[in-house]
Every structure is written in C-alpha cells, then in structure tokens.
Subunit: 457 residues, 2 copies
Amino acid sequence: MTAFEALDHLLGQRFSTSLAARRQNAGNEAHYPEALPDAVACPETAEEVAEIMRHCAAEGIPVTAFGTGTSLEGQHLAMKGGVSLDFSRMNKVLQINAEDMNVVVQPGVTRKQLNEELRASGLFFPLDPGADASLGGMAATRASGTTAVRYGTMRENVLALQAVMSDGSLIRTGTAARKSSAGYDLTHLLVGSEGTLGLITELTLKLHGLPEAVAAATCHFDSVAAAVDCVILTIQSGIPMARIELVDEMMVRGFNLHSGIGLPEKPHLFLEFHGGPGAVREQVAMFREIAEDAGAGGWKDAETTEERSALWSLRHGALPAIGALDPRPGRKTYSTDVCVPISRLAEAVSVAQAEARARGILATIVGHVGDGNFHCGMRFDPAAPAEVEAVLAFSGVLAETALRLGGTVSGEHGIGLGKQKYMAAEHGAALDWMRRVKTAFDPQAILNPGKLLPAND
Amino acid sequence: MTAFEALDHLLGQRFSTSLAARRQNAGNEAHYPEALPDAVACPETAEEVAEIMRHCAAEGIPVTAFGTGTSLEGQHLAMKGGVSLDFSRMNKVLQINAEDMNVVVQPGVTRKQLNEELRASGLFFPLDPGADASLGGMAATRASGTTAVRYGTMRENVLALQAVMSDGSLIRTGTAARKSSAGYDLTHLLVGSEGTLGLITELTLKLHGLPEAVAAATCHFDSVAAAVDCVILTIQSGIPMARIELVDEMMVRGFNLHSGIGLPEKPHLFLEFHGGPGAVREQVAMFREIAEDAGAGGWKDAETTEERSALWSLRHGALPAIGALDPRPGRKTYSTDVCVPISRLAEAVSVAQAEARARGILATIVGHVGDGNFHCGMRFDPAAPAEVEAVLAFSGVLAETALRLGGTVSGEHGIGLGKQKYMAAEHGAALDWMRRVKTAFDPQAILNPGKLLPAND
C-alpha cells in the first residue's frame, strides 16, 4: 500500500487528490504564485496527524501545514507538492481553564472563534494580527499585531504545545505552569518555525482578564515624523499602551476611498488604553500631554464599544483599502514588514517614505509602531516586470535599512518564501546553527520544504 | 602545544591549574559535593572565549561556565573536570540604550551591579532571584525571582545574545528590536540551556522604567491555605502585582531567629505594587479587599524606601534564616523548587506541608506564589544517610506532585545535577528531541557535560 492509499484508507473523504481540493489550498492573500499540493489531508486528531506524518516520512513525501491560508509570506504553500495538511477540522476549544487563565485549543481554532467561546469567562485572547488566522498558524509564524505592544506576541502567549515531529512522534513541550527552568525550551523553538520543525497539534495559550475600563481614540499630526516622535516618547514614558497604531496619510486616503469614513488626510495614531478606570484616565491624560507637545490635533474619542469596533475594523481593513488606492484589475498588493528598535523608528519610516517616492511606488505605511514594527503595502502589476522589480528592490532596501538600524527583516509576517534572501544578512554565523536544528529535527527535509531557510548553495 | 599550553600562552595569569584556583570554583551554595575542574580560565572578551573553546574542542576537553557560583542545582560544577570558564572578568556594562529601554552587558555583570550603573537612567532591570547572580548565569538558568509575576523571567527579558558554540564559532541571536518573526528562536534555545549548548558571551536585556509610585506591605493569615487562596484570587482578578511572596510560619520563625525582626509567627504575604500613583492606590485597595475577605490581618505598610529595602533584604535572607532554624554544625540546607498552575497552588503547598510533617523534616516554604512557584528549604545532615534519603524522597514527592498537578519540576532553579531524574517524567517523548538538539549543537558533549540531560542508559 502506498502512503496515499494508506491516507485514503485512514481519512476517507477527508483525504483528496482532486484538483479542486488541491487548488483550494494553493492560493494566498499575498503576491505569490499558486503552488499545488499533490493531496489535501484533513485530520481531526493529533493521532491522525501523527499517522499521516509516519506514512509520508516512510516515502519522503513533503508535508505542509495549512491553517486559514492568511500568511503573508507564502508559509502555507506546498512548494514541493506532497500533502497539504489542512487543520480546518481541528477547530475545537478543548479546555477553558479560567482559574489558571489559559486555554487549550486545537490548531485550527481561529482567534475570533476563540474569543467568541471565551465570552462568558471574563477573559480574552488579546492577540490581533488583523486576519482571523488560525492559532496554530499564528504560533508557527510567531504572529503578533495591534495589541502586542501591551500583551506580547505569540512568543509570550504560548505556554505549551503538542506537536507531531518529522518521524511521526507526538511530543508535548512546556506545561500549564507560568514558568519553568526544566530543560530546553522546545516550545519557543517550534513557535516561529513555520511548520519546518514540527506540526503543532494543540496549543495552551495564556489568557488575559478583560480590562475593567477601555478607552480608544484617534488623533492626527502634520507629519509622519511628528507622529513617530510622539510614539517614541510615549513608549519611553512607560505608558502601558494597549494599542498604538500609525496610519500614514496615504493609508488614510485608502480608508476614505474604501469606506467613505472622511478622515482628514493626515498621518494618524489610532489608540487604545486598558486598565482600571483610574489607571485608564491617568494613561489618557499622560498620553495627551505628550501628543499635544508633539503637535497632535483632532483628538477624537471612540466612546462606545461600537465606535471602538468600527475603529479597529477600519484599521484591519488596511489590505482592501490599499486596493482602493489603485483598483485597476490585475493589480496586487505587496505587503512587507520590518521591525526596529524604537529609537530608530523615525529614521526607518522616513527612509521608507523617501524610497517609495523616489521609486514612484504607491506605498502606504501602517504599523504597530509601539513595537517599532511597521508595514509597507504597495500596489503593483504582477504582469509588469518593471513594477515587480521596483517593489522587490524597495522591499530589499527596507530590509537592509532595518538591519542597519539594529532591527529585523520581519516583525511578524515571517520568512516563508519572500525573505529567505535576507536570512544570512540578519543572522550571520547563527544561520548555520539554525540549519543544524533543521537537520536534527527533519533529516529528510519533508516538513514544509523550501521555507524559512535559504537553500544551501 | 597542548590545549592547556595554548591557554596559558593566551591568558597568562588568567589561566591557572593551581589547586587554590580550581577549588575556588569547585564549591556551591547548595548541598552538592565539591567538583574540581582541571583548570580555571578567566577570559576578558568573547574572542578569548571562542579561542578557549577552539583549543578545548580540539582535544575534547570539557568546558563549564562559571558566573558567581550561586546556582542551586550545581550547574556551574565541572563534573568531568576540564576548564571552568570563569566569567568574572567579563563584567562590563557595554551600552545603556535608554531610548530603547535595553542594555548590552557582558555575562559576568551581576544584577546589582547593573542596577547601580543604571541609577541615573530612570530605568531598571527588575529581575531579582535573591542572590546577586551574574546575568549570564541567570540567562543560562532561565532565572526569575520575586518580580517575575510582573516583569517576567529571563525568558521574557533577554532580547538578544552573543554566544560561543561548541566548535568555537561566535554567533549572535536576536536583535534589539522588541519582536521578530525571522527564523528559529535560538535566543530562547540558549536561555535555560545551562551552558550545555553554548557559552553566553553578551546579553541584550530589556529594561523597564522605574515605577512612578511604589507601595509595599505585609500581612498575615491564620493558615497557609488562606494565604494561598488570597494569592489565587488576586492573580485571577488581574491586579498587576509587582511582588507577592508567601512566607510560611516556619520561615517567619527563621527570620525572627536570624534577624530578631519579631514578626508574628503566622504565614505572611510580602507585597509590592508598582505604577502611577492612582494605579497603585487602586491596586492596594483592590488587594486589601480580597485579602481581608480571605482573613488577612496585621496589615503593615513599608512606607519609605528604607523600609522597603529592609523588607526585601529580609525575604532574600531566607537561606541563612533557614540555617538559624537548626544551626548545628555540619548541617546544610537542601532547597528545591517547583511550579504549578495557580489553581493547583493550594493543593501543592498542602502536600508539601503534610509530607514534610509526616517525614519529620524541618522544612520552610517560601515562594513566588503569584507564578505558582514555591521553594522548600530543608535542613539536613549530609553525614546522616537517613536524613539525606528523607530530603531526597521528599523532594521527589514534591516533583511528582507538581507534575501530577500539570506543573514543572523546576520553576527557576533549573535541572543541573539534581533534577535530571525527573526529566523523562516531565518531558516524555520530547526528551528525545532535546537530545537531538544537544547532539546537533555539541556532538563531542564537551559543554557542561553531565548536566541537564540524564545520561542515556
């Protein structure tokens, strides 16, 4: 019996080699071309994942995890065919441990689904990358988003994992205890490994208490530089911002075109504050003092829950709103992200703006600037080689700038396909030790081949 | 030229094979027997560490890092001889980046030294394991201490590392950016690896703003169970405690004997609150309500900086104070530590108390209970086999209890020599993948041999 026959036997209808099923997992929200797996497998349990992996390992068949397909660097694309291991049916919240403020979930649970199921508990999972991504995918990409400045990234919020390794063995890393000094931190090795070291089959995640009080607001500045200066001073002052998002004037124009919101076309900060009522009042007052010194105007509170939801929906609609800036058919959006130490944020953003202008690229800047992290979204025509070259060159300059300023080529989108070319520049000799990990964990190179580590020449 | 000749040539007076020098690094504050290295090397730069490592690798000579020798599971002991690589001369604070709230230090800098040097910056490094440990050692052990409940452990506070690997190559992991999705997280693989995967030669650490307001206090309870219930409710309520330390009645007796402080001999909580003045007032009020409902009495504010220092000096004097409970010559203190999910803390502590009583062991319980982490300190006579056996058996029951309750056999002391026997029970199949990491990173097994991973039978 071949591996595929065995998988057919094991999974029945949940295993398919049909073109329709394969195409469903072949696309992406970014600019990468389609990549067809040879088959799609939809396990329902960790044990099934282990069995799939054992069959594939026996024949050296690649296995690429698929969550919701929302990764922005092509992490879920089956570049060398094989099995697209689709976690969409592993979507159960297994345990809500309110007393311990953690939750145990299958990897296909999405963050919105989780927060729905947490509604009665008084707790929430704050991470918010925009897309309604699967939690397994978020862990694999070390995702973060708007609230990371306060609550951390997936790095800080994954307590423990269950994973299937390249030989089909099933392991558990970490415990539900908040800390441990017992052995190597395999949890953090798997978080951010983009499915190249193991397949996450269960996650124990930290939860946080719903804040007693929440305040949200927007304000605008005459220049991105002034907005960024305000952010730097805010972070340095220690105000525990729950969200502090930069939206440049071009992005505001996109929002206006896309949703008719009618914001002044100036750089904005979108803000949220969490805490006790007194603490929130203190935070807002401290922030406003800093912001007004930096030239902020147009302060607008989002007072009701509905107004706050509308504000963050607007922010999370950045990708379609970028599209509205150049809606010609066939055009795509290339989104890149870098992260720098906060003191270098103004310089990084100003390089991004100047380079985009100089290259005639339609680019927006939005970002989780409290972390020093920002994104450039560029419209381009994938059929026009000069435009493709321009966005790639711009993206390269941005990556090099981040490294020159002591930062990283990706704050949260990951490496996937698009950023392998910067791995040597960012990691130097450490890249060899990453390869050692990969070889030790996946000697046949069948876990998400072609991702994260650049090919050895 | 042999490796030792080469090291002598390289380091001159900073390399020694004298018995006096070797004995200096052979002892420990815990109960482990002396272990003599064959030589002590005191490098001053990362490049020297790399060269030492290359010479030792060429001859298969073990290398064991030594910071301040304050580890509690024998991590710094050269069990198989070789070189004790003593970081005491690598004690420079290299960069204080106040704007980015980080600092770059050599591994031999101690936490108190760092905070002295930060004094003018308005920033501080909050981690406080009690001992004035070296920061390299703290990272290697994944240390934490009294403030981890608020500020996290070394896991959360190391941004980037420089390390020398087993073949003498010098690598950098991480960057000064607050987050990254760029590749495998080698930083977290090295943190907690107890010098068995690489030698940390430089650390970039997060700093935190000195809180605008600080309040500290103590209160007592009629039972440890009542104190623990108060802790659980406090953590669940989301009060961002800066410190919340349990001290049982036996430990209080030790403090009274050791320092004549005259506290009521009841279980206490020692508390600290950080924030803006309004936030601190809110936190104290919320905590007092919970505590009074749980039966707290004897509330005592530590109002001045001096009173606060005295409070935390008292707490950190636990080890000598345990000694005062049984000062007979030749007796030692065996200190063990476990960590459980907060909801299981009451059960874990009650097992510890009952088992100590049943076994006739003089044991104190102190702990960073906000994290579910506590320590038992036991007095015993190393020359009395029955007593040694009793503390080992008690320690084993405690470890098994922690695992049964979903916790870990060490919250912060690490594995070292003493807890290898629980590694298989805690990690199961994951232990094989830890071994893969070790083999990939240190194929000759010359980095701190005999530690962390149990010997393969």
